[in-house]
């Protein structure tokens, strides 16, 4: 709470006061005494006013565009954020500075915002800044960071006024895309199984004219024709037979892995959003199925505006998902999670409620058992207490016991030469001393070398306490998280993921296996596809936006399901996400290209080749079933899907 400025001032005042008392100078006593008492008075006012005023602070946030406040955001667009901090209590903070933390899903236009001034009892602090949405997902505003100080800068308090608000960032709208033909060119009845409903319905296309019958709605009367024929004629409209399209979007961990250019899932969501909006324009029905390793969530095809909004929201929610792996190293996640927790939960990270005393840092170490390979220093740090006890106490005690036993043997069982006895005793004493001092020295050396690990241990304890409270693990959860590396890593990822903090994860385990292959999703996708086929009323288009690269061994269930779909005259398209920054499959490097001798380049080339081979294999597998496979990173997917929809719409015309 005291700033360095205050500590200096306090120390010098105390020093001068003692000097004044010692030399007996009233002037030199009264002056620092006045300063000290004024300092104490200021501190007390600050200490009383701050907690009472902070708890009454409220944040009011509004995100708006040029037309006014908005409830959802759109990718690629700029919005203005207006946030106000007001206090509804009787107390007023004379000086506070506020700073907003823009969500990670958006970028702040210009400098990070901040404002300062009095707040409370009618005084309001306001921030205005612009944000630009990068891609679909969720923008989570946590609240405002409030720094409170006195006018002199002696006392300081940091609080975070939490006001969590979510804004969905919906995929960008397509403007001026390829126009989809919506005109009906003929009314021939398609063959069985591929049919259009040419019967009276409620569509807008005229089917026939007939005599008016009592009960027909007056609005369907064709007045001009009625006037010409001198009797009432009513219009029959054609029933619509719209094309249904179901989008199967992969939301498993494999597409959530972030990279410099964003997540693969982001591109899939963009494609799905584009298809959805194109279909909505021509009043076709679009359904959505989000699947991962464990489950599939489906939204049945529909075309109402509410349905479109619902699907867009589901896509935005999916785009915000974060990957998780139990193989992540907690030591890499701790600094990030700790910094974030200190920023957003300062009240739960303060030493008064959540601390690890320094002497516990010296003696305690966790976790004891872990799957990860530890460095030598880390090993010493984790075992320091064991080593200390063993070397400093157990071994000397055992040697002492051995001496006593030797003496007993010498006295009662077998008389040894005295020289040998003295030699053994001296050796034992030397070993005891060596072990004792060696244990002490090793302990001190470990403490000196393991500053980084001690800091990590303290932070891990504080985070474990926070997670244990935040996720309702109970008092035992704290200790469990300290000892269980995997559980801690998963909870740290969950914490960061919930707050939309981007973090990096290892892609391969210690045996070189890819951690995010998610083969379980193939079965889930196959089951969802079969379910959709079973519910299909007409020939439909199924778009599989799934990462199936390098899953050749597990593709059989999906191939069977696709075979069923194709056998029932449905169309299937597979869109494969592609790692950002990697050459597209059409742009495969030839062997003749100059090869650099640098290791990263060689590794990059090998990875590219591996992906290209996997893509080729996947394409061959699905080509046997007549299913086109396209790469999501190219510009092909949306036109191809719309072309397939048009083909379904025009089906039968050629026959």
């Amino acid at each position: 709470m005291l700033t360095p400025r205050a500590w200096w001032f306090l120390c010098v005042c105390l020093l001068v006061l003692l000097l004044g008392l010692w030399i007996g100078s009233p002037a030199l006593t009264l002056t620092p005494l006045t300063l000290l008492l004024w300092f104490g008075g200021e501190w007390f006012v600050f200490a009383v006013r701050t907690p009472l005023a902070v708890r009454r602070l409220r944040v009011v946030r509004q995100v708006r565009d040029e037309r006014g406040p908005v409830a959802v955001l759109w990718a690629g667009r700029t919005f203005e954020v207006v946030v106000r901090l007001k206090g509804d209590g009787l107390l007023r903070l004379p000086y506070a500075a506020i700073a907003d933390r823009p969500p990670f899903a958006v970028s702040c236009v210009g400098e990070p915002p901040g404002a300062d001034g009095p707040v409370g009892r009618g005084d309001v602090l306001e921030l205005r800044f612009s944000i630009r949405c990068r891609g679909p997902g969720l923008a989570r505003f946590e609240g405002l960071r409030v720094q409170i100080a006195d006018f002199q800068g002696f006392f300081y308090h940091v609080a975070f006024v939490r006001a969590v608000v979510f804004y969905r960032v919906l995929p960008v709208l397509i403007e001026g895309g390829t126009p989809t033909p919506v005109l009906k060119r003929d009314n021939q009845l398609p063959p069985p199984g591929v049919h259009r409903l040419r019967r009276a319905g409620s569509a807008s296309e005229l089917l026939d004219l007939r005599d008016y019958l009592p009960g027909d709605p007056p609005k369907t009367i064709a007045w001009k024709v009625s006037a010409r024929r001198d009797r009432l004629i009513t219009k029959d409209y054609e029933s619509e037979a719209p094309v249904r399209c179901t989008l199967f979007v992969d939301a498993s961990h494999s597409v959530r892995v972030p990279s410099i250019h964003g997540k693969a899932l982001g591109r899939l969501v963009e494609i799905a959003g584009a298809v959805l909006q194109a279909n909505a324009d021509v009043r076709d029905l679009t359904g959505l199925c989000l699947f991962d390793d464990h489950e599939a969530k489906a939204i049945r095809p529909d075309r109402s505006p509410a349905h479109v909004t619902q699907v867009l929201q589901a896509l935005a929610d999916a785009a915000a998902l974060a990957p998780a792996s139990a193989d992540a190293d907690p030591d890499h996640l701790i600094p990030l999670a700790y910094a974030f927790a200190r920023e957003v939960y300062p009240h739960l990270m303060r030493p008064a409620v959540n601390d690890l005393p320094f002497w516990q840092e010296w003696f305690d170490s966790f976790p004891r058992y872990t799957r990860r390979k530890a460095s030598f220093i880390q090993y010493l740090f984790r075992r320091k207490r064991d080593f200390y006890y063993r070397f400093s106490w157990i071994i000397p005690t055992l040697l002492l016991a051995a001496d006593v036993a030797l003496l007993a043997v010498h006295l009662f069982v077998y008389r040894m030469p005295p020289l040998l006895l003295v030699f053994l005793w001296l050796g034992s004493a030397a070993l005891s001393l060596l072990s004792f001092f060696g244990g002490q020295a090793l302990f001190v050396l470990t403490l000196m070398l393991s500053d980084h690990h001690r800091r990590l241990a303290r932070r891990r304890k504080q985070l474990a306490a926070l997670f244990s409270m935040h996720y309702g693990l109970g008092p035992g959860g704290l200790s469990a998280l300290l000892e269980d590396d995997d559980a801690f890593a998963l909870l740290a990822q969950r914490f960061l993921g919930e707050h939309h903090v981007p973090y990096t994860l290892p892609l391969y385990d210690r045996d070189g296996r890819y951690l995010f292959a998610s083969p379980g999703k193939v079965g889930v996708l196959a089951a969802a596809l079969l379910r959709a086929v079973g519910r299909g009323r007409d020939n439909e288009l199924f778009v599989l936006l799934a990462d199936l690269l390098e899953l050749d061994d597990a593709l059989d269930p999906l191939l069977r399901a696709v075979r069923v779909a194709v056998g029932r005259h449905h169309q299937v398209v597979l869109v494969v996400p592609w790692p950002s920054g990697m050459r597209l499959p059409e742009d495969e490097p030839s062997d003749a290209e100059a090869m650099s001798e640098k290791l990263p380049v060689i590794l990059g080339r090998a990875t590219t080749r591996r992906f290209h081979c996997a893509y080729r294999r996947l394409r061959q597998s699905f080509a046997r079933l007549g299913v086109p496979v396209v790469c999501a990173a190219s510009d092909e997917p949306v036109p191809l899907i719309l072309q397939r929809i048009n083909r379904l719409r025009n089906v039968g015309r050629r026959r």
Binding site: Y95, S468, P475
Partner: protein, 262 residues
């Protein structure tokens, strides 16, 4: 309502900065007058005042501390000729002038620190590293956050000056009250006053500190209480809990290893 839209003017040209500077110099003037009236050495007075004035103009962060130390040096030098002959000259010095000196010093110190808040930083500098700019180059150095120079209202500095006078007079009266208490057990006056002062300040600080801590707990949120209880439970049973969880972790890892091997 304060917003971040307003473009700040240069700090030196702001009225708040000018007013703080004038207040500091006024405090220095009061100190000089009080010291002159107390018959201190003119050279030393000018030295202390010069340090204070340069501190204000150059915005030294240690300005008030230097002035206070200079004042202590001045008093020590002033006492040196009388050392051992007369240690307590309370009866010969004017208490009023001491009160003026204390109030002036307080005015100077508070004004100087407010000036620093307006021109340097009002909060501790955030030493965390910042990300480098998008175009490349070095990350910007950590910078303090100033108090906006237009924030001091018209009554802020007059109120400070009046408060300084009140504190000066109040503490002088307290000093008189302490001096009126006779020392017990033939204790010297200086020692007795020192003990009384330490007792009084310590007691007041303890009571007020306790009240502030209690208030902190009373106003804490439920999750803070819950976390505190979690922490307390862990501290008291950590050995047993660690042993159990260590064993569970070991068993889980062993099971997992066997599963991978099989």
């Amino acid at each position: 309502m304060k917003t971040n839209d307003e473009t700040p003017a240069p700090a030196d040209s702001q009225s708040g900065v000018r007013a703080c500077t004038i207040l500091c110099l006024t405090g220095l003037m009061g100190m000089v007058l009080a010291l002159l009236e107390n018959d201190r050495d003119l050279l030393w007075i000018l030295f202390v005042a010069g340090v204070g004035a340069v501190g204000v103009v150059a915005r030294w962060r240690v300005g008030p501390v230097l002035v206070l130390l200079g004042l202590a040096l001045l008093e020590v030098v002033n006492r040196t000729p009388h050392w051992g002959r007369m240690r307590y000259l309370l009866s010969q010095e004017s208490l009023f002038l001491d009160a003026v000196l204390a109030a002036s010093m307080l005015t100077y110190a508070a004004g100087h620190y407010r000036l620093l808040s307006l021109t340097h930083s009002g909060f501790p500098v955030d030493a965390r590293r910042r990300p480098p700019p998008a175009g490349g180059g070095k990350a910007p150095a950590p910078r303090g956050q100033r108090r906006s120079a237009d924030l001091p209202g018209p009554w802020e500095l007059p109120t400070l000056a009046i408060a300084a006078c009140v504190w000066g007079v109040g503490v002088s009266l307290l000093w008189v009250a302490l001096s009126a208490v006779d020392p017990p057990l033939s204790m010297s006056h200086g020692l007795w006053r020192g003990l009384l002062l330490i007792l009084l300040i310590g007691l007041t600080a303890s009571v007020l500190g306790g009240a502030a801590v209690y208030l902190n707990w009373v106003t804490a949120r439920p999750e803070e209480h819950l976390l505190y209880l979690h922490d307390a439970a862990w501290r008291e049973t950590r050995r047993e809990q660690n042993r159990i969880n260590r064993f569970l972790a070991w068993a889980r890892l062993r099971r997992q290893r066997r599963k991978e091997q099989s």
